[in-house]
């Protein structure tokens, strides 16, 4: 791995850390396996890219992407709470619908943003750090939204969301409207994922309708890797673990790209990634096993 590849992996890891934070909220806090993210990630990119090409200020376009993601999450939550649909099915339905919706929003499957104004050119031009002009804005965004999420989870409202996730019946007994908490949680979660999509489109210069494929897997892997390797006793450490997990997952892919020397070929990439992640997960369990043995 070289320096460019390393910084590139950290950058894209920072983008996906927003996905991981969002999925931590739905998957871990609310105990809601939310598959909407495969649709809300490209939704954020689609909304943001379409608005930017129409001449809207990129900051406003990014905000719109955030709101669109929140709406997508709210729809999934509504399907689950009011139509009493199974969580997984509710997410699958929204994700499926979003594919067509994204095509409608963009009017075509691929919008190029190269040469257009983005939040990077508007707000962060000239902030080159570690040969990359994207590093500072991405780090700032992750820190800002991570901090906001941390603050939110410690407010009374955030505590109510957490209570809904850990014991809905108990929550109701305390006067918490658990349906509204699920709406809120999923909206915030998908808003973060859509923000990641909007950032991806602006950093890499295009939005494509297929870019959501596998978002859920990447997000889940990030959350789980982070949890396995770092302590997650407090909310703060759990959020940090998500960010760390997302970056680590990208570093794993980056190193998987370098295994050509060992006689592996380009098509082995996904297999190598899976094996490396499995190895990373094996370390903590090895530690426990040895501890139990002694």
């Amino acid at each position: 791995m070289n320096w460019i590849q390393f910084t590139g992996a950290v950058e894209i890891g920072l983008i996906y850390s927003l996905v991981a934070l969002g999925m931590y909220l739905s998957f871990r806090t609310l105990q809601f396996p939310d598959l909407t993210v495969d649709g809300s990630f490209p939704l954020g990119a689609a909304v943001c890219a379409s608005l930017i090409t129409m001449g809207v200020h990129p900051g406003l376009a990014t905000l719109a992407a955030l709101l669109a993601g929140a709406c997508a999450g709210w729809v999934t939550a509504l399907l689950s709470t009011h139509l009493r649909m199974l969580n997984l099915l509710a997410g699958i339905l929204t994700m499926t619908a979003l594919y067509s919706l994204n095509l409608r929003i963009m009017g075509r499957p691929n919008i190029a943003l190269l040469g257009e104004k983005t939040i990077l050119t508007e707000w962060f031009s000239g902030t080159t750090c570690f040969i990359s002009s994207h590093f500072v804005p991405l780090l700032l965004t992750t820190v800002l939204f991570g901090a906001l999420l941390y603050y939110f989870l410690n407010t009374r409202l955030g505590l109510a969301v957490r209570a809904t996730g850990s014991n809905p019946r108990m929550g109701r007994a305390q006067g918490i409207d658990d349906h509204k908490m699920i709406w809120l949680g999923l909206s915030v979660s998908n808003a973060l994922v859509a923000l990641a999509g909007a950032l991806f489109a602006q950093v890499h210069g295009f939005a494509d309708v297929t870019m959501g494929v596998g978002t859920i897997i990447i997000g889940l892997a990030a959350v789980i890797i982070g949890e396995a390797l770092l302590p997650t006793r407090t909310i703060l450490s759990a959020l940090l673990a998500c960010v760390f997990g997302a970056i680590l997952y990208r570093l794993v892919i980056a190193s998987a790209l370098n295994v050509g020397e060992f006689g592996l070929q380009a098509s082995d990439l996904n297999l190598v990634t899976a094996v490396l992640v499995a190895l990373a997960m094996f370390l903590p369990s090895l530690k426990q096993r040895v501890k139990a043995f002694s």
Binding site: M1, P109, N110, H204, G214
Partner: protein
């Protein structure tokens, strides 16, 4: 025992860290080795017969000109396996090896490569891109200050309609299967709609979002159309076998936009040979290696069309080839 376990774990961790550090930072580092070969980077979005065909064409052309992988040049080939996030990481990996030129096969791969290539002053050659201007790879087909060039696989649409009309006289309805999520296909279908309106041909669309939906899309066309045309659509082409099976059952001729699909069972195609397009891209890379600025090399368009016919499918789908077409055709037989 506890202490022993701790020591054991520490040793394993240290060994793993040392090994990975050695492997992570030594393999492709920018530190020049004694014999450092010039690097050519190839990034491709997914494994696919047409895209693979182009890549083989490029490698073949380079090899014939004396640029043999591992001997006189190092060809770094990476495939994103369909994941756009990975595509962006691939570009970083290739650029870190300081390549002489980068070849991006497919529109998203080229879009992901563009900004990093411009930032690091590395010439970018694209291929398997239908409309490089709309994809914003270049601003203008002629005036190009940036070091970006390549091969456009834009197919003149009249040739496709003429092909189907040649086999199916009195064509009134034509079915088309494509993925609405692919920019190249959507553009193609739009132009086809406009062109066929002039010839009084009605186009019936069947959209398939993924390969497993293609059979359903094909079934929806049965009874509604006289022939089916498959454009250069990655999803439909990947599921060609399922289209052919249904077509043979209902004796519905299937035409395609690429040679690979005819080998997979479509009746005929008039289009570009992907290997040939790859050779074009290879020639562009050779020019860049010889010192021509990439911005001065024109975008390769309007390649010679070749008619390819599958004899086996002709019989199974109940069609015959007009004798005047047979003369110029390449015939595939099983």
């Amino acid at each position: 025992m506890n202490r022993l376990a701790k020591i054991l774990i520490s040793l394993i961790v240290i060994a793993a860290a040392a090994l990975s550090a050695k492997y992570l930072f030594n393999k492709h580092d920018q530190i020049p080795t004694l014999i450092s070969l010039p690097v050519i980077g190839i990034t491709q979005i997914i494994e696919h017969p047409s895209l693979d065909g182009e890549r083989e064409g490029v490698i073949d052309t380079l090899a014939k000109a004396g640029y043999i992988d591992g001997q006189t040049v190092k060809i770094v080939y990476q495939n994103a396996q369909g994941n756009l996030g990975t595509a962006t990481q691939i570009i970083n990996q290739i650029i870190g090896q300081n390549p002489k030129v980068i070849l991006a096969i497919s529109t998203p791969s080229a879009q992901a490569a563009l900004a990093p290539c411009l930032a690091h002053n590395i010439p970018l050659v694209f291929s398997a891109v239908t409309d490089p201007v709309e994809a914003k790879l270049i601003k203008d087909l002629v005036k190009r200050p940036e070091a970006v060039t390549g091969v456009s696989d834009h197919l003149p649409i009249e040739s496709q309609l003429n092909l189907v009309q040649g086999f199916v006289p009195g064509l009134k309805t034509l079915g088309i299967i494509y993925n609405a999520g692919e920019i190249n296909s959507v553009k193609m279908v739009k132009v086809l709609q406009e062109e066929s309106a002039k010839h009084n041909i009605q186009i019936v669309e069947a959209v398939a979002g993924k390969t497993s939906d293609v059979a359903t899309a094909m079934n929806s066309l049965i009874g509604k159309v006289q022939a089916v045309y498959i454009p250069n659509d990655n999803t439909a082409v990947a599921a060609m076998s399922s289209i052919v099976q249904i077509a043979e059952k209902y004796k519905l001729p299937v035409f395609a936009g690429d040679t690979g699909s005819v080998a997979a069972g479509a009746v005929a195609t008039q289009g570009y040979d992907r290997f040939f397009l790859g050779k074009k891209a290879g020639e562009i890379i050779l020019e860049i290696l010889n010192g021509t600025p990439a911005g001065d090399i024109p975008i390769a368009t309007n390649h010679p069309l070749s008619l390819t016919v599958n004899k086996d499918s002709l019989e199974k789908m109940g069609t015959a080839i007009p004798p005047e077409l047979l003369k110029s055709a390449t015939v595939i037989e099983d």
